[in-house]
């Protein structure tokens, strides 16, 4: 079941727990990479913690998400165990994809993380298909397609929005607008200057929210999930946020103006939500530290698990190209 249906203290604390998990995980990945314990291609989600944290409290394990190479925040918020992510980052046999997918292709169908794609925009057509399965099967599952502002300019965006709209599919298109498409400013390459306004052209509900405001994202997600479950079709949410790092690990991000970066970091959503919890009395400092310590422990164990895990056997090289386990059908019953 979703965590709660009211934006109360418990909800905000849980959103913060997921945000802190994302931030601390990111800190530890950076530390492990810097120290040479991990050697990986990595796209930091720092600065974007609120979006999946406030969205995912509305989702069940059975609900689906598709995400992109910058997707570890979406995966963690959806409940993908950190140890499986770390072991995959380390290329070990115990990784979520047995070390064969890597950081850009984390998959965990057990928790609804169906696809992590390395191709800009490609989370959307597949999310439409997952949404289609809910409609064909007549179930209540919702699918979230996560993508960045850059992906709003690729053809897959248009084809997916249109098909989801004409079939009224239970899909939430979550555009995490972090203001930069790789190295390029959002405004420079986005006609009309708004992603969510494009929804109107498809006959779909489109909303813009402050992606660093947990309550705003929580409200927009609640409405979108309710709309999807009621069979009233898709929603396009544009959640505005800001990326704290370059495009990928090792990119200093010099193309991001220093004053904008400084302002964004001064308003770190993780710090702000933490302060809000204390200021408004949702939780006390001691309980908060207990919660954070549990996250630290989880990530410490994840790293230990990953780095002590075995490498894949070499016969994995050609395993899983095709299904070689199931016996194919030789006949089916027919009636005239």
């Amino acid at each position: 079941m979703p965590f709660t249906n009211r934006f109360d203290s418990a909800t905000l604390v849980e959103i913060y727990r997921r945000m802190f998990l994302i931030k601390h995980n990111d800190d530890m990945v950076h530390a492990a990479a810097k120290a040479g314990r991990l050697n990986l291609i990595y796209y930091s989600p720092r600065g974007q913690e609120v979006i999946p944290s406030a969205l995912s409290v509305h989702l069940n394990d059975e609900d689906y998400i598709c995400t992109i190479y910058r997707g570890v925040h979406d995966q963690l918020a959806k409940g993908l165990p950190a140890r499986l992510i770390w072991a995959e980052y380390a290329g070990r046999a115990t990784g979520s994809c047995k070390g064969k997918g890597g950081p850009m292709h984390i998959t965990y169908p057990e928790g609804g993380v169906m696809v992590t794609t390395g191709v800009v925009g490609s989370s959307m057509p597949i999310a439409v298909g997952l949404g289609l399965s809910s409609q064909v099967n007549g179930n209540q599952r919702v699918t979230v397609a996560n993508f960045g502002d850059g992906a709003s300019n690729i053809g897959a965006f248009h084809e997916s929005m249109n098909l989801a709209a004409v079939w009224k599919l239970p899909v939430i298109f979550m555009c995490q607008n972090n203001r930069f498409a790789e190295h390029s400013r959002f405004e420079k390459f986005t006609g009309g200057g708004s992603v969510s306004k494009r929804a109107e052209g498809y006959g779909m509900v489109g909303v813009t929210v402050d992606g660093n405001d947990p309550e705003a994202v929580w409200n927009a997600a609640r409405d979108a999930v309710a709309r999807a479950r009621a069979g009233e079709g898709p929603t396009l949410i544009e959640a505005n946020t800001f990326r704290f790092q370059g495009h990928l690990l090792g990119d200093p991000g010099d193309y991001i103006p220093a004053d904008e970066m400084a302002a964004a970091r001064a308003n770190d959503p993780v710090d702000k939500v933490r302060q809000k919890l204390l200021d408004e009395g949702h939780i006390d400092e001691a309980a908060l530290q207990t919660l954070e310590d549990a996250v630290r422990q989880e990530i410490r164990e994840a790293e230990e698990f990953a780095l002590s895990s075995p490498w894949p056997e070499l016969d994995e090289l050609s395993t899983d190209v095709f299904d070689t386990v199931s016996e194919p059908l030789s006949s089916i019953p027919v009636s005239a």
Binding site: V115, I126, G129, L132, V136, N162, W167, F322, V334
Partner: protein
Amino acid sequence: MDRITVGQAINLALHDAMQFDSSVIMLGEDVADPEGGGVMGVTRNLSTTFGDNRVRSTPIAEQAIIGAGVGAALAGLRPVTEIMLMNFTTVAMDMIVNHAAKLRYMSGGQTGVPLTIRTMTGAGAGTAGQHSDYLEAWFAHVAGMKVVTFSTPADAYSLLLGAIFDNDPVLFIENITDYGTSGPAPERGKVARLGEAKVIADGKDVTLISYGAIMKTVLKARQALAKEGIDAQVIDLRTIAPFDAQTLIDNVSKTGRAVIIHEAVTEFGVGAEIAALLSERLHGKLKAPVRRIGSNFSAVPFSKVLEQAYVPSAGSIQEVVKSLMG
């Protein structure tokens, strides 16, 4: 029903698959009855029989069609998608190559994509360069994709069932001029095992390896060669990827000569892969070099005169075979 056309066989396979398994759905441009049941009428009556929840016409949006198929397949359905013409697969290549083909491997076997992509192509209908290409080699080159085609209505039926109930993505190639071709009716309910070639005519002098609608031309060449005392064996590949290497090796090792014929252009084609395999495995046993015959290395031309000259003819096959017999 003793005889059946290719179009009827495909329709029957889709019908039987949907009746047997409620997870089989269909997506494609104009496939449902309000839109005519397919531009060639191949999917006629299926939406009426199985309902518009399971048989859906789509917008003209190939990336969305295949993406919807991939997502639905990940969720446990068996979508049969239709890309009207093989050249239009280019619009959906990211979904096919980067996603459908690879998700099983990249997920470490956690997910799979039991997706069928039906598509038609071929010269002969005057549709020229953007509606007629045989592009099977592109797909065969990607690990994780299966590629299937047929040369008889009975095989069209059983191979399509094989494709639909396979747990991996299958590109199923039909020929635009071939839907009216008739032949013996299939055994209802029989599901072909993918990856098995078939010797469809025996012979001791040379092995002709081919697949798809051009098989008619190959069989015509075989008859003409017989009149000249050359006894040609014919193998129908049926599954292009992964192909049945063992059947090819076993048979070519007996005849000592092999010619691969396909409608795709020769250059970098399926014939090159098979020729290389046979040369590697049977070097020293071959009585002549392995030869390839494909279409002219150009776009498919429009003018009837040029279009006919573009594709391999029975005469060109006979010439090549005779040159190997010395």
